[in-house]
Symmetry: C2
Subunit: 178 residues, 2 copies
Amino acid sequence: MSGAQGSDPINDDLGWMLGVVFRAYIRAADHVVGDLPGGPRGYQVLTSADREPARNQGAIAEELGIDRTVLTYLIDDLERDGLVVRRPDPADRRSRLVTPTDAGRDATRHRREALGAVESRLLRALSPEQASTLRALLRQVACAAQEVDPLTDLCQVVEAAAERPPAGRGGRRRPTRT
Amino acid sequence: MSGAQGSDPINDDLGWMLGVVFRAYIRAADHVVGDLPGGPRGYQVLTSADREPARNQGAIAEELGIDRTVLTYLIDDLERDGLVVRRPDPADRRSRLVTPTDAGRDATRHRREALGAVESRLLRALSPEQASTLRALLRQVACAAQEVDPLTDLCQVVEAAAERPPAGRGGRRRPTRT
DNA sequence: TATTGTTATACTCTATAACTATA
DNA sequence: TATAGTTATAGAGTATAACAATA
């Protein structure tokens, strides 16, 4: 009843939706990756570093949308726990390439499935098809938002890979969740 | 459902997408509502308070997903700038009802359109139909996430209103924007 | 005793600038 | 001079607990 003034201001606000969903995700993901240094952020650094060819910290920070200065502490903690190693880039000694250790790769492999469950639960209000649609649309928006400066062409790669059957690019690759 | 997975680890991570999009939104929205006390949060408080019947701080905090203690400072600043007023609830003198002043309502009215432009720009990678779909799906997820404890049945109201033609009494409501 | 709002404290995240070492 | 990374600092945002007034 009522609704005298206009509409439903908040629930139609994209900022409200994003905030609610983002915080809910962080809360849930913390239960899965909370013991990793840096929590969800640490997990993202681990997955971002697990690539060929190895990347330096600037590239990782750019992809994750976090500051270089934050990443330094994050990698400090991850390295202290033996999950990643820093080695100087032979081509540019200013740069330090970050690669996960076997322990780090194990850590991400374990959590990836658990995080998949978290994501499914977060999207439980949607049908599988709707969830898939939401993921695809969100990824499009995220990639476009990252492309303000076109350093991350990798998003386009993922876009392309999402459209054609999943074999493609790279190498190992796990079947992900259902 | 369709595949659309089996791709790269990070870009398929819901946490990555949400983080990127959420931060991009906050950055953009800050240009529009940055001069309001509390920035985007302050704007949300203003819109959440602009309802009949008036709500107390607990209800606003719940709807916005922020802590009561944060809301106190937020409302302090909004009240100091003359954008909202607190008055005791006649029915429960512990409670304080928050309502926007005329200046506060003006402030939100002005920014609402600007924020709409910000949202459109954030979703510029999507077609209008896709953007509408994303909004609807996100709202479903957000409402479900808020309903962990079923205090916010207001989400269902909005859901229902979004499906059927704008029913109800009299008022003009928003021009569908979808 | 439970609840609404306030206050104080601390911990995390983030943003800025200065510094180094390389280029 | 410019760049990659580090360090230090301050500012938000958030979470927790203690407290006062009221129910």
